[in-house]
């Protein structure tokens, strides 16, 4: 597992360095004080991470669970495309004036869950006549089948879509931070963009891109942990 994580993370180091370099160059070109800009962007990242990571983890796991069960999962997956995170954030912000942090989390977790549910449901349907039928033919059924085979397969499929889920969640996190007035890289980015502060805005954006790349790599490692087929490449 550790080797897998290391390998994945090492593989994205060049991308991260490239992003950092680009941010530094743009910030330096934009004006003095670029060191502070980079520092501020970096310092704001943990807050964003604290928002994105639990939302992704919760969304993926719950979504996969619902997805393989069918029913509610299918409904969730079906309406998923209609509720991108930023829209949910806006709706929550408008309806519940004093919005607690949990709502922001929910706005991010729901779309991730919907995507996971779709993928897991599809994986289950696809496995029904192959892997699952074969397992039933060998006499496996009931909860053993669900826990030992169906759920891992669904989870694996959901994690296969993690790359786009991470990108979507980070994007939506910007809206959440801005609307709910939380501090973080997203908030920093919006403020800087509104103020026309190129260096700061670009540094914040690069920071969030780096976060996305890193989270995707970790997600890939986790996927490989669950599904040996995803270990190569």
């Amino acid at each position: 597992m550790l080797r897998l994580v290391l390998r994945r993370v090492l593989a994205v180091v060049p991308a991260l360095l490239g992003l950092a370099l680009a941010a530094a160059v743009v910030a330096a070109l934009a004006g003095p004080g670029w060191v502070e800009a980079l520092g501020a962007a970096l310092a704001a990242l943990p807050a964003t991470l604290a928002l994105v990571l639990p939302a992704l983890a919760l969304g993926t796991v719950l979504g996969a669970l619902l997805g393989v069960m069918g029913g509610a999962g299918a409904v969730l997956g079906g309406v998923g495309p209609a509720m991108p995170g930023f829209l949910l954030a806006a709706v929550f912000a408008a309806t519940l004036a004093k919005a607690p942090v949990l709502l922001g989390l929910a706005a991010l977790a729901l779309p991730a869950a919907a995507q996971a549910a779709t993928l897991a449901g599809r994986a289950r349907a696809g496995a029904e006549d192959t892997v699952l039928l074969a397992a039933r033919g060998r006499g496996m059924d009931g909860s053993a089948l669900l826990w030992r085979l169906v759920l891992p397969l669904g989870l694996s499929a959901a994690m296969g879509g993690l790359r786009s889920a991470v990108a979507g969640t980070v994007t939506a996190a910007v809206a959440v931070e801005s609307l709910f007035g939380r501090t973080g890289a997203g908030q920093l980015f919006v403020e800087a963009a509104r103020a026309g502060d190129t260096g700061m805005a670009f540094a914040a954006l690069a920071g969030m891109c780096g976060l996305t790349v890193l989270l995707s790599a970790l997600g890939g490692a986790l996927h490989g942990f669950i599904d040996p087929r995803a270990r190569m490449a």
Partner: protein
């Protein structure tokens, strides 16, 4: 039908079915089937595609699909296991873990015993270093090894009844028949009743597995009912044709086809060689079969002759012109003489154009109308008549011209493909498993039609197939290909009874469902073994085989073999009398 026997109350047969019907809300899928399988018996179940074999097996294992009602009695004594068509294993866990789980679940075995059991089970299918394979995941195994694992897993659970749905259908014949023979031997020994369904695609099991001893009994599923097999008349041997003489029209010399695989980290170019210095000569009206399995290069060879795949070396000359160097105009003229039938005839038609439009395009390209004197209207009328004629020759109505390929059934598509190939009045027809998508009587009809047309038109034929029986039945001469090289070449009659190369023998044995003597899996074409390419699978291999690659040398007039042992024994035969 055998299930009608009187069945006593102390009946011990693992499977007894009485009056089993499967219904959906609209049709009757299977209609009152009755049969029984005894312990240690192997019952083969055949039937055309869509006859309901898979459905029957699913119903017997209690896993009928949703929306299908099961009526009638299924009595099962003991444990039953279904091995599905794809032989799927749990993709997320190692083979060993799957054995342990199943055995712990079924007989409460602890892990050590289960793993030993698993290794023993794999060894029954001659898996070398079985214990090491247990640590692998299914996707890390080759197709053949995965099937061995799936069947070993099923048998390790000691079922009383094993339902196997077209097992290992996608494997090459030599591997598949060996696997099935081993399975049948094991079930007989263990007293397991085995119900073996044939695959819908052309399959020797469809033909008759009883004479070869693979199965004890055979039932046919047709129109939802079981039929006992009727005596099939042995086909009359084809009229012996005089060996065509004359200069070769097609001659292939040292043809090499290879695909670049990119560079290794040291910068050396790496190539995958698919056809390795082959030479063939074909006279007017001659028929030649190319026998070989996956990776033998037969299909690429067929395409390279028509320059659909660019060769990297060697020569293909048609009537004396070298096709590799031919200018476009000459090449086009040659294409009119050289036509090909593709393995999937439906995929070989553009789905967006009607059959008629594609015929017209082919004709216009290869036999352009040069008649300036004739009025345009008349020449179009001529063409339309010609297209309809072409369809008639292959037994299709002219209405097919207005259809799109998507509206054709496989049998019709195969005939339409043949009609298109005949349009430019070729002199050589290259066939790449042309009947691969057909089964049963449709296949036989198509091959008969192909033969009849070939005789009438005196076509030369190059017929690539992995089914030795089919190839030898169609062509007068045959080449056996292995890893892009010829290992044996002889007249079909000679080859059918007196093949000398171990690989040819295995291919011919597999076609007759006899257990082939080759063990193991074919080597990767990326890393072929030194010396003889068959060395690692050959039962006769000796040390010399690893050092010197055998050359293709004559052992009798018109019979050449590339095998040290076969050549030596031929010499002794020659000296003995």
């Amino acid at each position: 039908m055998s299930g009608a026997d009187v069945i006593g109350p102390d009946d011990r047969s693992p499977l007894r079915v009485e009056g089993l019907s499967l219904l959906t809300s609209r049709d009757i899928l299977l209609d009152r089937l009755s049969f029984a399988v005894e312990p240690g018996e192997v019952l083969a179940l055949s039937g055309a595609a869509g006859a309901g074999k898979t459905l029957l097996l699913r119903a017997l294992s209690g896993l009928a699909p949703k929306g299908v009602t099961v009526l009638g009695d299924i009595h099962i004594q003991g444990r039953r296991i279904l091995v599905t068509q794809d032989g799927a294993l749990d993709p997320l866990r190692t083979i060993g873990a799957q054995f342990t789980e199943l055995l712990a679940h079924q007989s409460g075995m602890d892990e050590r015993t289960a793993l030993r059991c698993a290794a023993e089970a794999l060894e029954r299918f001659q898996v070398p270093a079985a214990a090491r394979r247990l640590a692998l995941h299914p996707h890390e195994l080759g197709e053949a090894m995965r099937w061995r694992a799936a069947l070993a897993l099923a048998m390790a659970a000691e079922p009383a009844l094993l339902l196997a749905d077209a097992p290992a259908a996608a494997l090459d014949p030599t591997q598949r028949v060996r696997l099935l023979s081993d399975l049948a031997a094991w079930t007989r020994e263990a007293g397991t009743a085995l119900l073996l369904a044939g695959r819908p695609q052309p399959d020797p099991i469809q033909a008759d597995p009883v004479p070869s001893g693979l199965a004890d009994r055979r039932l046919i599923l047709a129109q939802g009912r079981l039929e006992a097999p009727e005596e099939e008349p042995t086909p009359a041997p084809p009229p012996v044709e005089p060996a065509p003489s004359g200069p070769p029209i097609l001659s292939v010399r040292d043809l090499r086809v290879a695909f670049p695989l990119g560079r290794s980290w040291r910068g050396a170019e790496r190539w995958l060689t698919v056809v390795d210095g082959l030479s063939i000569a074909l006279a007017e009206g001659e028929t030649l079969a190319l026998l070989g399995e996956t990776g033998s290069g037969k299909s690429v060879l067929a395409r390279a002759i028509l320059r659909l795949v660019p060769p990297v070396g060697g020569q293909v000359s048609w009537l004396g012109t070298d096709l590799a160097a031919a200018p476009p105009e000459a090449m086009r003229r040659a294409r009119g003489d050289l036509q090909i039938l593709f393995p999937d005839p439906l995929a070989a038609f553009d789905p967006l154009m009607t059959i008629g439009a594609q015929f017209a395009e082919t004709l216009e390209s290869l036999r352009p109308s040069r008649s300036t004197a004739q009025s345009a209207a008349q020449s179009t009328a001529d063409r339309a008549a010609r297209l309809a004629e072409a369809l008639e020759e292959v037994g299709l109505p002219a209405a097919v011209l207005d259809l799109h390929p998507g509206s054709l059934r496989p049998a019709e598509a195969a005939r339409a493909g043949l009609a298109r190939a005949l349009l430019p009045e070729p002199r050589l027809l290259v066939c790449d498993e042309p009947a691969a998508t057909l089964d049963g009587s449709e296949r036989a009809d198509f091959l008969a039609l192909l033969q009849a047309i070939r005789r009438r038109r005196r076509l030369a034929l190059l017929y690539a197939t992995q089914d030795a029986a089919e190839g030898l039945g169609i062509a007068r001469r045959a080449l056996v290909l292995l890893l892009g090289r010829i290992v044996e070449s002889a007249d079909s009659v000679v080859l059918a009874t007196g093949a000398r190369h171990p690989y040819s023998r295995a291919l011919i044995a597999a076609a007759g469902l006899d257990r082939p003597a080759l063990h193991g899996d074919p080597p990767s074409p990326l890393r072929p073994p030194t010396g003889c390419p068959l060395r690692l699978r050959c039962p006769l291999a000796h040390d010399g085989c690893a050092q010197v690659p055998p050359t293709l040398d004559p052992v009798a007039p018109g019979h050449r073999v590339a095998c040290h042992v076969a050549q030596d024994s031929a010499q002794e035969d020659g000296k003995a009398p």
